[in-house]
Symmetry: C2
Subunit: 353 residues, 2 copies
């Protein structure tokens, strides 16, 4: 628990004065005040998060955490769980959506085996930090022990600390795990207080019948485990997943290091929500990449007061939305650092009315 | 009229078979079908527009057309019209928002003086294609003659033809012109049939009183000129502007060359709408960059059946939203061309239910 406790106690508040510093420069750039909308918001937030008047985003990384889920026994996913390790190998070879979009965004991809039910041996290109070989079926008891949940979170925190030391300036989160929209919707329901049906979608693309089964499965999991909505570790261990815990840890570690973190879709947001339940201040360090097709996503973002950046009907995960959103956040920073001021450009900043 | 007539007659239909070709590959990539949402739509559309199974977007360019407006006499803008040439010089020096965002997107910026009320001499870095030295005040008669309107459009078409020949693969449109939300809202009102008040916003940031004056000014301009909603040249000459005409021409020329064109905010969309009135097929070649703060924008996009890509509360113009959206369109293409297929990656594509 030491790593977790240290991270939580290191998470500071955002100082309003940094928003004001950023705003002053933004209002002096050759454009009508506020006319670059959310790009200006991104710049203000980067200045305030980093407490740096001239932040840089030269080193970017997306962490894709992979894990399996015992609850797939209940037929909640359209794909067999063997697809999780197959996709991990695809990530390592560079052929997946996240590889393509991270390259486009100039970000590295770190693929973390935190809970895949497969023995990868000592394969290169994979970050081997397996905590469990898949979780247990949460309709029959807790998905993980509390100790395993702590270990997942601390794995994420340790990665955040390592990559902060290596000079990475912005993190993205991503996930791979057949069945992982099921624990994510379970977390969404318990933390937001909304019904399971309200926050459960079709994941990779199941039928209406399967969706009804998925909702019943989640309802059963919540009933069997009675997770405590105010205890992040209880939620994660009982109805969560290893990759969700890794993401929660990465978010806590990013906030502790004053590093902005871009959360992807449903599963990443469930991880961020676990971090938020542990320490609500993390929300100030989060950028919500996009508005997922998955219906539970929006409810979790609203709970944390986050407004998504993109709305592309994405539902792939992996960190794909996070990589795309990084490009937009970086655009906001470039506006802030590269645009000429009225004085430099000899443009009149006198407003008539 | 020859250049215009040739362009219009060269604009072809989109062949459905190219959507099917693109869809087949998209469905074979290592992801659940449709899970990359609008990125997949962008890829399909690029294949269909270019009639090329493997399109590339290696050369990108944003055209920023600048012009002045006689109607600024009526006090419709927050800034004096001297800001138009000052901003043109800022573009040439690389310090404006469009320069920063086009660099970020890997696109060139072509700054076109099509109607600025200023003598730039033979200054380098500016494309000198002045048709008028500012338009006339449209509350007192037509903004331009019909001949000038044709010349503006043909200027845009000629640029499109030149840059198509140079191998540019995607165009963006942008504008600079103090007062130009006024003719744009006038065009929006006449073509959509909505009241002026419904499609008129605060531009660069005027007061409520000034907004009321702006609405009255536009209503007067429409009343004085009685533009024909079904005649693009009549609309452009009576209540338009030189940069709006240049953009209309660029859109027509892009479509004639099967080049996708990303339209920016209110002013660019007014230009695209003029092109659409002339030849409705242009809509198939358009990508709507973003959903502007300006309220008339959405009505015009709906008229053409276009769904904006970004929603960042932008209201700067210049082509800034177009540059940002290009990065997202390119992301869609990279997904299509760079992702591994199920077969290549050894990933199971068997779906259980």
């Amino acid at each position: 628990m030491d790593t977790l406790n240290r991270a939580v106690s290191a998470i500071g508040d955002i100082k309003e004065e940094f928003y004001a510093i950023a705003q002053k420069r933004l209002d002096n750039l050759t454009k009508p005040p506020g006319s670059l909308g959310r790009l200006e918001e991104f710049a203000r937030r980067l200045v305030a998060i980093t407490e740096n008047k001239t932040p840089v985003l030269d080193k970017k990384v997306v962490f894709t955490f992979a894990g399996d889920h015992g609850v797939t026994e209940e037929g909640v996913s359209a794909y067999p769980k063997e697809v999780t390790p197959q996709m991990v190998l695809n990530f390592i070879r560079g052929g997946a959506g996240i590889n393509v979009l991270a390259r486009h965004a100039g970000a590295e991809v770190v693929v973390v085996d935190i809970g895949v039910d497969h023995d990868f041996g000592q394969i290169e290109g994979l970050t081997h930090l397996k905590v469990v070989r898949g979780t247990q079926n949460f309709t029959k008891g807790p998905a993980m022990t509390r100790e395993e949940a702590v270990k997942c979170i601390e794995t994420g925190i340790t990665l955040a600390n390592q990559y902060a030391k290596q000079g990475f300036k912005i993190f993205g989160t991503g996930d791979m795990g057949i069945g992982n929209t099921t624990p994510s919707s379970a977390i969404a329901s318990v933390v937001t207080g909304l019904s399971v049906a309200t926050v459960t979608g079709k994941g990779t693309g199941i039928s209406d019948d399967s969706l009804r089964n998925k909702i019943k499965t989640i309802e059963k999991g919540i009933k069997v485990n009675s997770p405590d909505a105010k205890d992040g570790l209880d939620l994660l261990s009982k109805i969560g997943g290893a990759e969700i815990g890794g993401i929660a840890g990465l978010v806590l570690g990013a906030a502790a290091n004053r590093i902005p973190v871009v959360i992807d879709g449903l599963i990443s947001t469930a991880g961020a929500l676990i971090a938020y339940v542990i320490e609500p201040k993390v929300k100030n360090y989060l950028f919500a990449a996009h508005n997922s097709v998955e219906i539970g996503h929006k409810a979790m973002l609203e709970k944390m007061g986050l407004q998504p950046i993109l709305d592309f009907n994405l539902r792939l995960g992996e960190g794909t939305g996070a990589a795309l959103a990084m490009l937009m956040i970086e655009a906001g920073l470039k506006i802030y650092t590269e645009m000429a001021t009225f004085g430099e450009a000899g443009v009149s900043d006198e407003i008539i009315n």
